[in-house]
Subunit: 176 residues, 4 copies
C-alpha cells in the first residue's frame, strides 16, 4: 500500500500522500508518445486504454508523479517504461524545456485540466518512441493513431481529466 | 510561523511543510526580471540583494513556492510584487511554457542547482518589468545590471544555490 | 512601385522581388496580437480585416517580410506599427525563440499553410498589445475577439492562407 | 558552379545567388549534433573541422541554406547527412519550434553572429545523432566533445562567425 521512491531513502505511506495532496501542488510529468519518420514528421500518436478509478474505460497519455530526489527526465523514462514496457525505446528529449505545463485543479473550470484527487502541475513533453510497445500493469491496451484519427471527437471524448486539451496542444506544437 | 495559501482553505504549519520537504519535490517559480526597449531588446537584468539563512549577503532572482490551488502565473505575480513592490508592473508572459526548468537538489552535484532545505523543481520565466521597483520585506536592495555587467564573474559569484547557472541560461535564451 | 529597406542601402524592384520569390524561401514574421490581464491571461485576440488580392474581404494576422539588414524584432515592430498604428504599444517578446514557424508553400497541401505568390517561412510570435489600435493603410478594420469567439468556425473560415491553423497553434501555446 | 534545388524546378546560378545575398535575408538551419544517454542527458557535442574560405582551419556546427520549396526539416536532414554521412542516423526533432534563431549580419557587431557574405537568419535545433559519423565533402574531421570540453575557451575560439555564441546558447538550453 506504499509508494517507494527510487532513492529508497524517503517514502510516503498512502495516508501521508493523501495528506500532502490536500496541501501542496504535486509535480507530474505528461508524455505524448509519437512515432516519427526520418524527417521527424509525426506519423502516429500513442494512447493508453485504462480502467479509471470510477470503473470506466478511458484513453490516457503517459502520466505520473515525480518522486522525491528523482530528476524529471528519470521520471519521464520510468513512467514510459512502466506503461509501454521495457522494449519501447523512448527517446527522452535532451532539453528540459517542456512544450507546455498542465495545471490540474481539484475544482473543475479553473483551467482546462481537472483532477478530483489533487492539485497537480505537470510538465508536458513529446517523446518519440522507436521500439515495440506493450501495455503494462493497469493498462488494457496501447494503440497508435494517425494525427488525423487522434483528433477525432470520438477519440478525444475518451480522454479523461482534460487530457484531450493537452493532446490538442501537443498536436498544435507539432504542427500536425 | 505559518504559511497560508491564497485560497485560505488549506495551509501547512512550519512543521508540516518541513515534513513535506523531506518527502516530495516542491514546486517553485523563478523569475528573471528584465528591462526592455521598444523592440524587446533586454537593457537591464534585475537582481535582489538578501541576507541568506547563513547570515551571508547574497544576490538572488525572484523565486518562491507555488501554493496549493494557486495558478503558476498567480504565483509569479505574487512573488514579483512581494519582492519588487506594488509599483513594479511586471508583465507576466502570456504563454505557460517556461524557458527552462531548474531542479534544485538537496544533494550537491546532481544538477547545477542546490537547495540544502529541499528538492525543488522550479519553472523559470523571463519577466519584463516596466514600473518602479523597491525592495520589500527581507530584501536589502534591488539593482539593475546591464547584460554585460550581470555576467561578470564577481556578480555571478554573489548568486546562491546555483542561480548563476539559471541566470546564464536566461541570458542565453535572450541572446544577450 | 518599389519596396525600400530601412537600411536604405539595398532595395529590390517589384520585378526583382518577383524573381526572388520564384527562387528562394522568403523570410517572414507573423504576430498574433493579444490583450492580457495583469496575470498574463489572454483576454483578447486581435485580427485585421483586409481586402485580399482576389478582392475578397478576409481576416488576417499581422504578417510581413523581414528586410535585408533588418533584425527580426525590428521587422515585428515595424509590421505591428504599420498595421495597428503608432499608438498600439506592442510588447515585442524579449527572447528570439518563436513559438512555432509557419512554412507557406506555393503548392497547396505540403503544409497547412499556402501562399500562391511564394515559398515563405514565417517566425511566429504572440505579442501583447497595450495601447489603442487603429487599422492603417490597406486594413479596413482591427477587432478584438475573446479566445472563445476567435476559435469559432465562422471566424476561422475568414482567415486566408491557412492562418487559421497558425491562430489555433497560438491559442494552444497560450493554453486558452 | 550552380546550386540546384531538390524540387528541380527552380535553381539559382552562382551569380543570381550572389545578387540575392545582397538584397534579401537568406534562410538557414543550424544543427548542434549531440549524443544522449537513455535519459536524454547529453554526453557529447559534435563539431566539424573545416577549411574556411580564408584558408584557415575552423570548427563548425552543421549549417546550411534552406532551398526553394524545401521544408525546414528536410533541409536539416539534408545538411546533417551531407556533413556526417549516410550512417549518422540523426533524430530530427518532431516539433518545428527552434530553440533559438541566429541572425548573421554582414556588418559585425549588430548581433553576436557575423557572416561577411550575407544576411542570414538561421533556425537552430539540437539534433540527437545515434549512428556512425564520418566527415564528408569539405569537412576534414568530425569529433565528439564532452559538454565540459566543448565549452573550453580553446575550443570555442576555433568556431567561426560567432557560432561559439550559438553553441553556448545550445548548452544553456540543454542545461549542461
Amino acid at each position: 500500500m506504499t509508494e517507494v521512491t527510487q532513492s529508497g531513502a524517503a517514502w510516503l505511506s498512502r495516508e501521508e500522500m493523501d495528506a500532502a495532496r490536500e496541501r501542496l501542488p504535486i509535480l507530474y510529468v505528461d508524455a505524448v508518445p509519437v512515432r516519427v519518420d526520418e524527417q521527424g514528421v509525426v506519423t502516429g500518436v500513442g494512447l493508453l486504454l485504462r480502467i479509471g478509478e470510477d470503473g470506466q474505460v478511458k484513453r490516457a497519455l503517459v502520466s505520473g508523479r515525480v518522486l522525491y530526489h528523482e530528476r524529471v527526465r528519470s521520471a519521464l523514462l520510468r513512467h514510459l517504461e512502466k506503461d509501454l514496457g521495457p522494449l519501447a525505446l523512448p527517446r527522452i528529449p535532451p532539453a528540459p524545456q517542456p512544450f507546455t505545463i498542465a495545471e490540474y485543479f481539484p475544482t473543475p473550470g479553473v483551467t482546462s485540466f481537472h483532477d478530483p484527487r489533487q492539485h497537480a502541475v505537470s510538465l508536458a513533453y513529446v517523446v518519440p518512441v522507436e521500439g515495440d510497445c506493450a501495455p503494462q500493469q493497469d493498462a488494457l491496451e496501447f494503440s497508435w493513431f494517425s494525427p488525423d484519427e487522434v483528433r477525432e471527437a470520438t477519440v478525444l471524448a475518451e480522454l479523461a481529466n482534460g487530457q484531450s486539451a493537452l493532446l490538442l496542444q501537443a498536436l498544435a506544437h507539432l504542427a500536425v
